[in-house]
């Protein structure tokens, strides 16, 4: 018995659930960035210089958003070969983004921005960007699962909902990154 499709839906419950989950994640980062604003006005605050590398990782993130959208399009047009390739490219770009974030953290760390000690923008940067990278990692893992599903010969899948869900999530982490990046450029 298929519990989900028992009724004609305007919007698939899984997609809807994702939208609420996105609201929930937004609240988490809203909590962190508003904590940043509150703390930034207090004495003893130290600021940081955001590494140039993060501009390039922004480019990678934007590019991956484009590839996931193209993957969704080719899935809907049943271009499975192209779909698999684009899925792979997106996952690789996602992992590349995480790698660049980690390198960026090293650069910051080597320039003297440490976790320990007095409060400052650096401590927030590590945690907020780190949490964002974790969310990208979650998306990349989901992409890998989709990737292996796409190669399994036994199951022919015409249901585009999972692809749409992951694409929406991927665009969300992209937008979230742009928000966080602009926030840091503006507030630091």
């Amino acid at each position: 018995m298929n519990i989900v499709s028992s009724r004609q839906q305007k919007i698939h419950p899984h997609k809807f659930t994702l939208w609420i989950a996105i609201g929930s994640i937004i609240m988490m980062f809203a909590g962190l960035t508003s904590a940043y604003i509150v703390k930034g006005e207090q004495p003893g605050w130290t600021s940081v210089v955001v590494p140039k590398l993060f501009y390039y990782s922004t480019g990678v993130m934007l590019l991956s958003s484009l590839t996931i959208q193209m993957a969704l399009k080719s899935f809907k047009e049943r271009g499975m070969q192209q779909y698999r390739t684009l899925l792979t490219v997106t996952a690789v770009l996602g992992l590349l983004f995480i790698a660049m974030q980690i390198i960026g953290f090293y650069q910051l760390f080597n320039s003297g921005v440490k976790l320990e000690g007095g409060s400052g923008a650096g401590q927030f940067l590590y945690i907020i960007f780190g949490l964002h990278a974790l969310h990208v990692l979650g998306g990349a893992i989901a992409l890998l699962i989709m990737f292996f599903k796409a190669f399994s010969a036994k199951i022919r899948n015409y249901n585009s909902v999972p692809v749409e869900v992951i694409a929406t999530y991927w665009h969300f982490v992209d937008l979230l990154w742009i928000y966080l990046f602009v926030f840091f450029l503006w507030k630091v």
């Binding site: 609240m27 988490m28 909590g31 409060s119």
Partner: protein, 606 residues
């Protein structure tokens, strides 16, 4: 009154059971593991939440009995305490560290693991698909994960009771620096790490559950079930989930920063600290403990309504059914739940009036806080007008629902005192606060939960709970709750602070010694009666009087159109279609009209 008398009303509903045997009866095989352990059936998950919550309630209640023993009899020793608590109660007297650990764990366990997980976990899971007409949740798998994260969190929290340095002991609000510095107290060491881990798992559980509840209510309603035809339980559980989904992530971000302060050396909450235990000045600078309070209470206040709203929804439903009258002011009830949800996010700083908050900002929060009295009063008056001149059936569920209204009124009124920032200067951190929140959200939410359990037990297990024990349970608990918490108002007004180990050393509080003894004695009696309830619950699962009709209470809602023991998927045939709202009681000379019955040609409008 016995339930037998109620059975006369049930003929109408049985017609729904006739026309479907030919359809599927659920084909996939169920083993013990998939049916009782890793179940994806929302009804089984609800029972798992309920029983886990009950275990926690017994533990949390027992903790309160232990520290009440200290508060009531500070000069006596109880050698048996050393037998069960070991070195935490040397010589039969609870040590100061253990006292704080007990108080902290009592709060954490009851607020989160019983009244959030156990209450909305149980009833949101159980009632949402049944009352909106869905086969299961939007994602049964996520729903199962929600329980197992809750279970995992429970195990971690429980394990913190058994470690050498003891569980966290800095108060359930976990304010830094006590929660951020391992050297601050024994409980701040491993106990706090386990506390944060358990709470993180709990937050994940709440989010997974909440996402499901929201998307199920909005997307999976059966044909004809418009939002305004939903029973008030659905509205309440829906807004509860909204509150949880929007506020728990903020708590989680607060915990993440706390974790980095503990182990990463960061200064989010810490500043200029010298620890006498290690004779060491810490390098942390510029942190602010108030920041944690903001992040904590941004969840913490909505949390109060996460606890209270399900109780309100269930009380509305049970009162209407047993008054045999439509709920008074349905749309006003929905509107007031909505107003409470919005206001819940705008009042958190009233917990922080004495932290040096800007007095102007304080007055804004006073205004917003007192505004909550408006929707709360709307709800109270609607409950009272619903039972006004009604032919009330005093079932155990109804008794507890009425008890809920009583407690909500008496506890809510003291909230108006506390919401004033000027009065709060005197009342803050006194027993007045303890009395207020225990009555308004502790005991009253428990009453809502009991009402729900007694009322929906026949649907859960196909049997009734024992009525005699239920009535004893009700009267002792109601009288006990008032006897315990009413005197605390006087103690609080006299300035008696909360969280002290021993008040006998203070001249100003010495004359409360007998009163404290009295409170402790009543607390023990009330706790014992709860054990009788637990006995009644488990006894009735196996030996209770069997339910013989599908609709024993004569209710209009959809859950009573399912078979007495519904399988996974709830309805053996088609999901019934809904034609009317949930409160057609005593209409056009009929006792009740189920939601599934089409509107007749000559029917009057409600």
């Amino acid at each position: 009154m016995s339930n037998e008398a109620l059975h006369g009303h049930s003929e109408v509903v049985t017609t729904h059971d006739v026309h479907h045997d030919e359809h599927h009866v659920h084909h996939h095989k169920e083993t013990f593991i998939t049916k009782y352990v890793f179940s994806q059936d929302h009804k089984m998950i609800a029972k798992q939440f309920l029983i886990t919550g009950m275990v926690w309630a017994i533990l949390g209640g027992l903790m309160s009995v232990l520290f009440r023993l200290q508060l009531g009899y500070p000069d006596q020793t109880f050698p048996w305490l050393e037998d069960i608590l070991g070195r935490w109660a040397k010589g039969g007297k609870i040590s100061a560290e253990n006292y704080y650990a007990l108080v902290t764990m009592h709060g954490t366990v009851l607020v989160f693991f019983v009244l959030t997980g156990g209450l909305s976990g149980t009833f949101a899971n159980f009632l949402i698909p049944l009352q909106i007409g869905a086969r299961d949740m939007a994602s049964p798998f996520m729903n199962m994960l929600s329980y197992w994260f809750f279970f995992g969190g429970s195990i971690v929290m429980l394990s913190s009771l058994f470690i050498q340095t003891g569980p966290f002991s800095g108060g359930w609000t976990a304010y830094p620096p006590l929660s951020a510095l391992g050297d601050a107290s024994p409980g701040s060491k491993t106990g706090m790490d386990l506390w944060i881990t358990a709470m993180a798992l709990f937050v994940v559980s709440s989010l997974l559950g909440g996402l499901n509840y929201i998307s199920t209510v909005l997307n999976m309603r059966t044909k004809g079930m418009s939002m305004t035809r939903m029973p008030l339980t659905m509205w309440a559980l829906f807004f509860t989930a909204v509150l949880g989904v929007l506020s728990f992530p903020v708590l989680l971000s607060g915990f993440i920063l706390l974790l980095f302060d503990r182990h990463g050396g960061t200064s989010f909450y810490l500043s200029d600290i010298y620890i006498t235990a290690t004779k060491q000045a810490l390098p942390n600078e510029g942190g602010s403990a108030i920041l944690f309070q903001h992040l904590f209470w941004f969840l913490g206040h909505p949390e109060v309504y996460i606890i209270l709203l399900p109780a309100m929804g269930m009380a509305s439903e049970i009162i209407s059914i047993n008054a045999r009258k439509p709920i008074f002011g349905y749309m006003a009830m929905v509107g007031s739940i909505f107003a409470i949800t919005i206001l819940a996010f705008l009042v958190w700083a009233h917990h922080m009036f004495v932290t040096g908050l800007n007095p102007f900002l304080g007055s804004v929060f006073v205004l917003l806080t007192l505004l909550i009295a408006v929707p709360s009063a709307i709800k109270v008056f609607n409950w009272l007008t619903t039972i006004w001149k009604a032919n009330i059936r005093f079932t155990p569920g109804m008794m507890f629902a009425l008890g809920f209204v009583s407690l909500f009124i008496s506890g809510g009124l003291t909230g108006i005192f506390l919401g004033n920032s000027t009065l709060d200067i005197h009342l803050h951190d006194t027993y007045f606060v303890i009395a207020h929140f225990h009555i308004v959200m502790g005991v009253s939410a428990f009453f809502g939960m009991f009402a729900g359990i007694y009322h929906w037990f026949p649907k859960m297990y196909g049997r009734f709970m024992n009525n005699t024990m239920a009535y004893i349970h009700f009267w002792v608990t109601l009288a006990g709750a008032y006897l315990i918490f009413w005197p605390m108002h006087y103690e609080g007004l006299a300035g008696m602070p909360r969280r002290y180990l021993d008040y006998s050393g203070w001249e100003s509080f010495k004359h409360f010694a007998d009163l404290n003894k009295f409170i402790s004695t009543v607390a023990m009696i009330v706790f014992a009666i709860q054990l009788m309830f637990v006995f009644n619950f488990f006894y009735s699962i196996f030996k209770g009087r069997k339910v013989t009709t599908t609709n024993p209470w004569g209710a209009t809602t959809l859950e009573w159109t399912t078979p007495i023991r519904p399988g996974h998927g709830n309805w053996p045939g088609e999901i019934p279609e809904v034609h009317r709202w949930a409160y057609d009681y005593s209409k056009d000379g009929r006792d009740f009209i189920p939601q599934t019955e089409p509107i007749g040609p000559n029917e009057s409008h409600h």
